[in-house]
Structures are given as structure tokens and as C-alpha cells.
Symmetry: C2
Subunit: 235 residues, 2 copies
């Protein structure tokens, strides 16, 4: 997020699959440039909606995409923020139609990977298939992490965990992890963490009062990572 700098392929979660650094056959190389389509998603626009046929999966190059679960009655059940270098809609691949809606929180650039072609590639290359299974399993772990964050922790711990999580992921994609701009608003964060925007706001204020972070609106500055981690862990 923050600056619109787009990450390069070497930071993409698909790197090991797309590029032949560690792969052998030429068929594996097909993904590189040929089948993957790049596109821009304006802020507020949907990348896909629940009910859409699942034909592709996506990788975020820059920006931020929020993934909403429409299966529950409630509107706007936010189950994931996808940050640069991360993949989207992997969990939908099992079914014919998507059960989530993905909306750009800020203007974003993404890679679209057609599932059919990728599937074919998996059958041809065991290595790609294995790598892909690993990626899908990893996506499942993320949901699990969020679960324990929400179920077992109270508000201040959740917000701390959220900040540390975002910080780490931004760093992984080559951005600064200490000082960044949150793409999403307080309501989105609250929905994600199972809180109210007022509570999120109060937590930010409290963390700032303790000198662990600095906040002004969407700008966040992490001053004491270790102390913040202590708050996060102090169940």
C-alpha cells in the first residue's frame, strides 16, 4: 500500500512456479508472460463477486484487496486483506462458483492467472502441483491464524496483532514495515477483527498513549515493536 510502487515478480508468491529458476520443463515456463494477464482495479471496484464462475485466481502487485464472505447473512463479513505479493481466491478453486466477493480498498494492480491453464500445468508438472498444494495449505493457515486472534484475544491485543501482522507482510513485500499507511478504513479493520470502529479507534489511541505507536488517521508508525508484541501476546 502507501506508495503505488508495484512489486516485482521475484516477490510474488508464484515466483517459484512462474519462473524457471528451479523448474525444468519448458511447459512450466508457459505461465511466464504468456497466460498471465495484468490489470488495474480502481478503488471500490470488485475483482469478482460471489456467485461468479471461478476461472482464475489472482496475485496482488500493488494496492489492497478486501475479501468479503457473502455466505453469512451479514453484510461485509471481511475475511481477508490481500497485500502486495499475496494471492487471492485460492479457497474458491474447489468449487465452481466463488463464495466470496473481492473489492479493491485502494487502486490496485493485479495479475490474473487462468485456473484452467494452471490446472493443466499442474497435471504436466508434479513440481508445480506440489508447490501449489503448499500455497493453498498456507492460505488455510492464514484463516486459522485470524481465528485464534479473534477468538482468544481481547480488543487491544487484536489491534496490536493486526498491526504487527500488516507490518510483517508489508516488510515481506519490500515495503517499510515500521511506518506505513493503512489502505483500509476503521470500519473495515473493525469488521475484520470482530470489533466496532469506535473500539478500534480507542485501541489505536491507547497504544499511542503508551508510546508504542503513532497514529494519525490512516498513517501508522510503529515505535516499539517488541512492546507491541508483548501487548499482543499478553492474553
Amino acid at each position: 500500500m502507501h506508495e503505488a510502487k508495484r512489486i516485482g515478480c521475484e516477490l510474488c508468491g508464484l515466483w517459484k512456479i512462474c519462473f524457471p529458476g528451479r523448474v525444468a520443463s519448458s511447459s512450466e515456463r508457459r505461465l511466464n508472460g504468456l497466460l498471465i494477464r495484468r490489470m488495474r482495479v480502481p478503488r471500490g471496484k470488485a475483482l469478482y463477486r460471489s456467485g461468479d464462475k471461478v476461472e482464475s485466481f489472482y496475485m496482488i502487485r500493488s494496492g489492497c484487496i478486501k475479501e468479503l464472505d457473502d455466505s453469512t447473512g451479514r453484510q461485509g463479513a471481511l475475511i481477508n486483506f490481500a497485500l502486495p505479493g499475496e494471492m487471492l481466491s485460492l479457497q474458491s478453486l474447489g468449487s465452481a462458483f466463488s463464495n466470496t466477493t473481492s473489492i479493491a480498498v485502494e487502486p490496485s494492480f493485479i495479475c490474473v492467472v487462468p485456473w484452467s491453464a494452471f490446472n493443466q500445468l499442474c497435471t504436466e508438472s508434479p513440481r508445480v502441483a506440489a508447490e501449489f498444494i503448499r500455497l493453498i495449505a498456507k492460505a488455510g493457515t492464514a484463516a486459522r491464524d485470524l481465528l485464534t486472534l479473534i477468538r482468544d484475544k481481547e480488543a487491544l491485543e487484536r489491534v496490536s496483532g493486526f498491526l504487527l501482522n500488516v507490518s510483517g507482510r508489508l516488510q515481506a513485500s519490500g515495503s517499510r514495515g515500521r511506518e506505513f499507511r493503512l489502505a483500509m478504513n476503521r470500519d473495515d479493520i473493525a469488521n475484520y477483527l470482530g470489533l466496532r470502529s469506535e473500539t478500534v479507534s480507542r485501541c489505536f489511541t491507547e497504544l499511542a498513549r503508551r508510546q508504542l505507536i503513532k497514529v494519525q488517521a490512516k498513517r501508522v508508525n510503529i515505535l516499539q515493536t517488541n512492546e507491541l508484541r508483548k501487548v499482543f501476546l499478553s492474553a
Copy 2:
């Protein structure tokens, strides 16, 4: 749960993979009987522990296995109950070592599927690989469902959702979904739902007061499925 009747292969989540009903090559048939080991797990015994090398995944034939997340500091973070016909530890396949511990809630019978052999099979058979990806993705959806249950609903709704969920899954494995015996105790349910055992108890009592269920200790009888579903949905 309830009676120790074990489900047959035709209800197993791996059915489509194990059996040649819809598969072609003889290599796909290898799994059937030859490599899969069946075993008994006594109540309270661990099937595997976090840190163990991931060499297999598991299918429940009878009984109930609880899966604990040890990564968080807190003890006993319960992320899943595996019921007959369901699979276990799929999310660990990506990593070398398990990050969860699985313990039998009641005496259980399971199938142990060696991952290495299965992996080999996936490379040989595209159909098996695709089916397997579907299964892994489905496992991810379950975690997601629990997430929204816990994050967006209050106690009575969570307990209603839990009962409906268990009911449906028991039915899927051929057991009665109306009247059953919960294998797990109140503490396990509470941990799973992000509540306290006292609260779970109160919710059971309240649902019984409304004549939607009958409870006495572990015995549950669902009287009004539709009304129970209304409680569950009334966010």
C-alpha cells in the same frame, strides 16, 4: 460419535480417490487397502503432536478427534473437531512439521494415509491431484466458517450454529442428526466457540427452555431444527 459404528469407505472423504468407480489407471487403485493403515486411538491419546514430522494425513472412521493449535501461547486452542468421514491435518501438508496436536475425544478408529505415497500418486494421476486440491480447499472453507461463526455472532447463536453444524455432519456420515451424543465436554465446546463452559451451559439451558432442543449432559435432541436455525441466523 454415539455408538461405535464405523463408517464404511463409501462415506469417506477420500472415496473418490481410493476407489476406481470414477478413476482409471491401476496406480490410482494402489491406495485401496495396500498403503492405508487402520488403527485405534484410545480416548485422550494423541494421534500426533505439534512438532511431529508430517508423514501422513488421517481420516476418521469412528469417534471424534479434536485438533489443538499450539502455536498460540494459550493452552488448548481448539480449532477443529473431526467427525466420522472427515479428514485431519490437511493444512499441515505444506510444512515439514505439524503445527497442531490431535487428541481423541473418545475412542476412535482412523485410517492413516502416508503422504509420500499419496504425493507420488498425485503426480501420476491428474484426477487424484485435482480431487485432492478440492479437499484441501474445502478444509480451508471449514476454518473460515468457524471464523465467521465466532466473530460475528453472540453466544446463543454460536451454540445454535454449533449444534446445527454437528447435526448436519453426523447426518452426512449416516448417523442420526436429530438425536445424538456429544463426544466432547463443555470445556471443549467452549474453547471451540470462544466462550466459557458456564456460558455454553446457560445457552443449552436457554435453548431447552425455548423447547428447541432437549439436553441432558452429553445427550442432545434437536426438536425444532427450523427454529434453531432462526436463532442461529438472527444476528
